[in-house]
């Protein structure tokens, strides 16, 4: 018969490695978000739209960004939420 313990052990080890990699990547990303707080961030959106704002926070699953002083083509929005689905990339300096 085919032993089932070996593959399941291997799976457990593999899972543990994945979890470790995941936690390291996530920790670094959270540190990146943290360092962005209060900084001027340029958002590159779809349709070649670029907007600038002061970064506040992101929700845990990265669906929305809370920003202040959002410079839009039709004026400055004091407080705003940016839907992450509309964003291609965002840039800031450290």
């Amino acid at each position: 018969s085919i032993p089932t313990s070996i593959p399941s052990d291997a799976d457990a080890e593999q899972l543990q490695r994945e979890q470790k990699a995941r936690s390291q990547l996530r920790e670094n990303f959270l540190r990146c978000l943290l360092s962005m707080t209060g900084k001027k961030v340029e958002f590159d959106m779809h349709e070649n739209v670029k907007v600038e704002a002061t970064f506040g926070a992101s929700d845990i699953d990265v669906l929305n960004f809370q920003v202040s002083d959002l410079h839009t083509p039709i004026g400055v929005q004091k407080e705003a939420l940016i839907r992450c689905q509309d964003v291609i990339s965002y840039t800031f300096e450290i």
């Binding site: 490695r17 994945e18 979890q19 990699a21 995941r22 390291q24 990547l25 996530r26 670094n28 990303f29 540190r31 990146c32 943290l34 360092s35 962005m36 779809h46 070649n48 845990i60 699953d61 990265v62 992450c84 689905q85 964003v87 291609i88 990339s89 965002y90 840039t91 800031f92 300096e93 450290i94």
Partner: protein, 96 residues
């Protein structure tokens, strides 16, 4: 076009960390040292060091990624610099 990038998983993403990558999005190619990948959104954190000190950080949203290509591996010093980018000053390596 759906990219496979968000589906790769932590082990595969880790292989690109501390490498210079070229990320293809909608209509352009972005380059930088890969600092990390958010395992939740598959977003890539790219770092480009400036000559005068400091760095430009560009985060590319995972959903916008079309393709990721590794260009070169960072040397020891650069790799340390990349990984120290967002660490609190207390535990960053002191540079002369």
């Amino acid at each position: 076009m759906q990219s496979e990038w968000p589906l790769l998983g932590p082990s595969m993403w880790s292989r690109y960390v501390s490498k210079q990558v070229m990320v293809t999005v909608e209509n352009k190619e972005l380059r930088g040292w890969l600092q990390t990948v958010d395992p939740v959104s598959a977003s890539l954190v790219l770092v480009n060091f400036k000559k005068e000190g400091g760095a430009v950080v560009q985060v590319v949203m995972g959903h916008a990624v079309r393709q990721v290509q590794a260009l070169k591996v960072a040397d020891q010093e650069t790799a340390e610099r990349i990984q120290a980018c967002f660490l609190p000053p207390m535990i960053q390596n002191m540079s002369p």
